[in-house]
Symmetry: C2
Subunit: 358 residues, 2 copies
C-alpha cells in the first residue's frame, strides 16, 4: 500500500509509492524508448490490454471493453494511489501518515494512435474534456476524496512514459493539494480586501493591455501570466467567474476545446513539438467544507495551466521556490500570437463556437 | 535589467531574466556538450577568463586574479540578478514588480579540474564551506538583501551548465524566498506550541529510530527525511541548535565537511555518479526583522538538502505540489549506509574531527 507522508516543517504531502519501489539499479538504465505503435495498449482493438474500463463515450450498441468508443477511461495500470480501503490517518512519532488511498484514472483521448492532442480533431478534444467533467463529477461523490487533479503529460521529458498515445489523467486525493491551498488562500485574501475575484480582475487588466494575450475566444482568454515561471507558459482562463470546472456549460466546453487545441497547435509550431505538462486548477470538493472555505464559490476561479518543458529546474529554484524565466512573458505571448497554425482557419469555421484571435 | 515579478495569486517571486532572453530557436538545439578541460575558465592559470575575484583563500604573497589560490570567488558571468542599483519597488496595474537586484557569486572549490566535490580532499571541501561562511557574512552587510542561498548543481541534468569544474554558488536576494518562509512559519508554529525546535525533536527521534540515518559525525547527522520528495534525498542536520550557518564553529565546519564528502562519495558509489542539486537553508538576514520573525534564533535550525536528480517532475507534481517518491526513505538510507566508500577509512583517520558512522 502506498503511503501519504506529511513533511513536518512545511506541511507538504509526499506519496511514497511503495509499489513502484525502486532500487539504485533501476535509476541507472534509461527507459525512454517508446513502444512501437503495434504494441500500444491504448489503441482501439487493444481493450483487453488495459484494466477494465470505468467509463467510455461509445457508439450505441457497442459493449464495454470492446471497440466502438471515442473516449475511454481506465484505471492506471501503475496507480499512484489505491482505490480500496480507508485512510487510516495515524502518527509515527512526531510524523503524520495515512494510507495512499485515492483514484488514478487514465482518459484515453482517441481510439487512433495520435501522439499529441494538438493533432486531434476539435470534436475529439471536446469529447475528452467532457469526459473529464463526467469523471470528476462522479469522483466527487466519494466522501474520502477532497480534490481531483486533471493533468496531461506529453513527451518523455514531461514524464509521459513510454507509450505515446494522447491521454490525460485524473488523480483524486484525500487531502487538498498544497499548490491548490495556496491559490485558495491567495484568492480569499484578495476577495476579503476588495470583494472581487482576483482572476476576474486579472483577466480584465490583461484584455485591456493585450501584451500577454495569446488568443481570445468568446468564453476564454489564453495568456502568458505576468509572473510566468517558465518560457511559453500559458494559462487558459474562462471569462465568466466560476470556481468549478466540472460545472462548465456545453457551449463553454466547446469553446474551451477550441482554445486548448489552438494553443497546443501554436506551441507545436513555434517550439517544434515540445514536451509539455498541462493541468487544471479547480475548486476542491466542498462536501466537507467548513469555516474559511465557505467563500470558494465567490473568490476562486478555475483555470488551465500549460507548461512547455524547455528549461531545467536547478538548485536555486529547489532551494528558494523562486523560478527563473529566461523569456519575458510578453515575448512568449507575441511569438504564440503571431504563429501561423496550418488548418486552423478551416477548423475554426467548422467549430460551433467561433473564435476571434487577438 | 532583470525583473522580479510577484505572482498575485500565491505570492511567489519569479526572476524574469531579460539578459538571458531566449527566443524559440534557443530552446530547440541541445547545449549539453561540456567544454574541454583545456577550455575550462575555472582552472588555476585561467584567472583572466573570469570576472575579477571577490575573494580567495590564497598562499601568502600571491596577487588577486593570479595563481596561488585554494578557493576563489568570482561574480557569475551570467548573473541572474544585478549588484548595482536600487530595488525600485513598484506596481504595474495590479501586479508587483521590482528591479532584479542581488548578488550572484561562484565559489570555485578547487584550482584543479575536478568535476565532483566527492573527489576533493577533505581539507578542500572544508575550505570551500569556510569560504561560503565568509561571503555570506559579507553579503549580510548589504541592507538591500534579505537572504543568501548557497547551492550547488552537479551534472547537466541538474543544471550545472557546460563547464564541469566543481563549484557552488551564492545568490543574495532582496526578498526572503517562499520556500524559506514556509519553513520559518512551520518552525515557528511548532515552537509556539511546544517551546521546542522542530528540527531538534526530529533529530532526536531519528537518532533513536536509526532507520533513516545514513551517517553520524560528532556534530551532525545525515538522514533521509521521513517525507522525502525524491529517491535518495538526504539532509545534513547539525546536532546543536543554531539558526545561522555562517556562525558555525571551526570544529563543526570540519565535521560538516566530513559528513558532506562522505555523503557525496556514497551517492557517487551507490548511484553511479548521479547528477545532484544541493542547497543550504539558513536563517534570513535579521537586520530588518520585526514582529513575528523575532523568534528565529530559537525556532529555526539550519540544514543542508542534497537531492540526486533521478526522477522527473511531471504534471501531477506541478499541479498539486505533491511529490511522488518511488523509493521509501528507509530503503534509500539503508543503501547509502551500507555502501562501501573506497578510501573513506584512511581519510577519516587523517581528518581532525573523527567520524562514527552508523
Amino acid at each position: 500500500m502506498p503511503e501519504l507522508r506529511k513533511d513536518p516543517l512545511i506541511g507538504r504531502w509526499v506519496i511514497i509509492a511503495t509499489e513502484r519501489a525502486k532500487r539504485p539499479i533501476d535509476f541507472l538504465a534509461a527507459h525512454d524508448d517508446s513502444v512501437a505503435p503495434s504494441a500500444c495498449p491504448f489503441c482501439e482493438g487493444k481493450e483487453s490490454e488495459t484494466p477494465k474500463e470505468i467509463f467510455a463515450l461509445r457508439t450505441q450498441g457497442t459493449a464495454a471493453d470492446q471497440p466502438g468508443w471515442r473516449v475511454r477511461v481506465v484505471p492506471s495500470i501503475k496507480p499512484l494511489l489505491r482505490i480500496e480501503g480507508q485512510l487510516n490517518r495515524r502518527a509515527k512519532g512526531m510524523y503524520d501518515v495515512m494510507d495512499g488511498i485515492g483514484a488514478h484514472e487514465v482518459i484515453v483521448e482517441t481510439p487512433q494512435h495520435v501522439h499529441n492532442a494538438a493533432d486531434l480533431p476539435l470534436t475529439q478534444v471536446q469529447a475528452a474534456l467532457q469526459t473529464a467533467t463526467i469523471r470528476m463529477t462522479d469522483l466527487e461523490r466519494d466522501p474520502r476524496f477532497r480534490y481531483v487533479l486533471w493533468f496531461k503529460n506529453y513527451g518523455s521529458v514531461a514524464g509521459a512514459g513510454r507509450v505515446p498515445h494522447s491521454r490525460s489523467q485524473l488523480i483524486a486525493t484525500p487531502v487538498t493539494p498544497l499548490r491548490v491551498k495556496e491559490e485558495l488562500l491567495g484568492a480569499r485574501r484578495y476577495y476579503e480586501d476588495k470583494e472581487r475575484c482576483l482572476v476576474c480582475d486579472l483577466v480584465s487588466q490583461e484584455l485591456d493591455a493585450r501584451t500577454r494575450v495569446v488568443l481570445e475566444t468568446p468564453h476564454t482568454v489564453a495568456l502568458c501570466p505576468f509572473a510566468s515561471r517558465f518560457p511559453f507558459e500559458v494559462w487558459i482562463v474562462p471569462k465568466r467567474h466560476r470556481c468549478d470546472f466540472a460545472k462548465i456549460a456545453p457551449d463553454e466546453l466547446m469553446d474551451l476545446a477550441a482554445a486548448f487545441k489552438g494553443l497546443l497547435s501554436r506551441l507545436k509550431g513555434v517550439l517544434d513539438d515540445p514536451p509539455y505538462n498541462c493541468l487544471l486548477h479547480t475548486a476542491p470538493f466542498r462536501h466537507q467544507r467548513r469555516g474559511h472555505w465557505q467563500t470558494i464559490e465567490e473568490d476562486y476561479h478555475w483555470h488551465v495551466e500549460l507548461i512547455p518543458r524547455l528549461t531545467r529546474v536547478a538548485g536555486f529554484e529547489w532551494g528558494s521556490g523562486f523560478y527563473i524565466n529566461p523569456t519575458p512573458p510578453e515575448e512568449s505571448a507575441r511569438y504564440l500570437r503571431e504563429a501561423l497554425v496550418p488548418g486552423e482557419q478551416e477548423e475554426q469555421a467548422a467549430a460551433p463556437a467561433g473564435r476571434s484571435d487577438v
